[in-house]
């Protein structure tokens, strides 16, 4: 079987398009690279959507955390402690078991006029359940980063906003929030990178890979188990992730340039990639 044929069969295998059966013996390098690359679709899906939704919740959490009201601040602090203080691995297991325990037939929600049934089965699937966990997790981590940035918004900026007669939401939207993003961006870039790394945990943590549709590491460990040779599949995933990391750094670097475009050249803060591993 030629390599073009393999790519046609397996390039979209992880989303269920193409050949149904995975290769069983005589694995070629082309098959390994194609199938592991196909799994990367899921890593990108989990990472991109969790980051997108998490960004908004994180802003809310950061604002709540810096609130003067006890009743607003405390829940935000507890949320951050809960998700930053426990392993993501345990969070995945816990969420999966909780979703499994929800009634199979769906929850009957009794409204006054009518009764609707909320279907809960899809929550036990990785595409939804794991995404919810990753979304809450990244919201907690980025919330802490944004909170730190919010506290270091220069006093002079706030006074200038007051002098222009800005207050409330307008002040937040036009002065505080852009400055917070600018200050938080280097740390937020690292958070994004490690969120993508954390997506590899999904299929090792309770969420079953339905019809063998898994992520990059799922296929890599499939090959490593079958061939008993870790020296080929794992370096392939590692290579894919290095490429993914470079893409993320490029995209976030462009956004960083835009956030810093009003500053003189030497005051701009470059993004430095600093390791901070698992959660």
């Amino acid at each position: 079987m030629s390599c073009v044929q393999t790519i046609a069969d397996y390039a979209l295998r992880s989303v269920g398009i193409g050949e149904r059966l995975l290769p069983r013996s005589d694995f070629t390098l082309c098959e390994q690279i194609t199938l592991i690359g196909s799994g990367l679709i899921w890593n990108i899906y989990f990472g991109a959507f969790a980051l997108l939704f998490g960004f908004f919740l994180a802003t809310g959490v950061a604002v709540a955390r810096s609130s003067r009201l006890w009743a607003v601040r405390k829940p935000a602090e507890w949320f951050i402690f809960l998700f930053r203080g426990s392993p993501l691995f345990i969070q995945f297991f816990l969420a999966y078991e909780a979703f499994v325990l929800l009634p199979k037939s769906g929850i009957e929600i009794n409204l006054i006029f009518t009764e609707i049934t909320a279907d809960t089965r899809w929550l036990t699937r990785a595409w939804a359940g794991a995404l919810i966990v990753l979304f809450l997790n990244t919201a907690a981590y980025s919330g802490e980063i944004f909170y730190g940035a919010l506290r270091s918004v220069p006093k002079g900026d706030l006074e200038a906003a007051d002098a222009y007669g800005l207050s409330g939401l307008a002040k937040f939207r036009r002065v505080v929030w852009p400055t917070m993003l600018r200050l938080a961006w280097p740390a937020y870039t690292n958070e994004a990178i490690f969120l993508f790394h954390a997506t590899t945990l999904v299929y090792f943590s309770g969420f079953p890979a339905w019809q063998q549709k898994g992520d990059a590491l799922y296929y890599a460990s499939y090959f490593a188990d079958k061939t008993f040779n870790p020296f080929i599949p794992y370096p392939i995933v590692a290579g894919y992730f290095i490429l993914l990391t470079l893409v993320i750094i490029t995209i976030f670097g462009l956004i960083n340039r835009r956030l810093n475009r009003h500053l003189p050249q030497e005051r701009r803060r470059p993004i430095r990639f600093r390791p901070q591993v698992l959660r």
Binding site: F93, A98, L201, P230, F241, L278, R279
Partner: protein, 293 residues
Amino acid sequence: MFASCSDPSTLDGFAWLACYLTSGKHMAFYASFGTVMLLLLITAPAALAFGFGGAMAARARLWPVRLIGRAYTAMVRGVPDIIFFLFVPIALDQAFEWLRHKAKCPDWSEPVRQGSDFVVCAQAKLPLSTSPQWMHETYGFFLAVLAFAIVFGAFAANVLFGAMRAVPRAQIETAEAYGMTQRQAFWRILVPQMWVYALPGLSNLWMILIKATPLLFLLGVEDIVYWARELGGSKTSIYAYPHPDWRLYYFLGLLVFYLGLTKVSEIVLGRVTVRLSHGQATLAGEAQRKAAR
């Protein structure tokens, strides 16, 4: 455990729960918390040693050594560490077996890799197939510790390398002015002073190490995650203590355990930071000096 537990089907309520929570399997579950703490206690110094070696290598004057040190510290960037956790134990296991194979069976003619199999002679197997079960478990745990130490050593090397560069240059120059050799200046001036700069990074690393311990489960060690799944799964009436699916509660227990561990670590590390800042030429040390006056 208790004498009254001999026939659990007659018990109910609190007595049943007391007997259930002290059954033999639960004792193994509680012992596995010890496994996690043991892993933390062995891995932390081992990773620190690996990191110290890596940082020293990255500073070496000989370029091949420096290259190895830099490569080691750069290794974990950009690649998810769970890949290392899956890769390192198998790779090390095969490397050990291959070395023993070469040493013990020199007249073995067939290749080690035959298609999808990795075949070494019976004497080279690690541990030997005749050895008892606990040897196999200890060997698995040892490989896991080594994998953790290598990966976290790379992170620690990063932190320590930065900390060594953060010590003010004037301190080293003063040591040289007193006639110390480079080695003396390193061990007597640089190393004692670098810890305060390394502490924020190292305490972050400790938190991450705590949160990485459930990955032991992936390495096939019977740790707390393994037992939580094992004990929590629903038990039919052929078991002594039948119950529905309780995994949620077991995992909630693990969550509380980890949150507690994090909280205790935060408090302890906060105290260590205060202790290490004593008399240092940093902002924190300066603040302490002013407060004491």
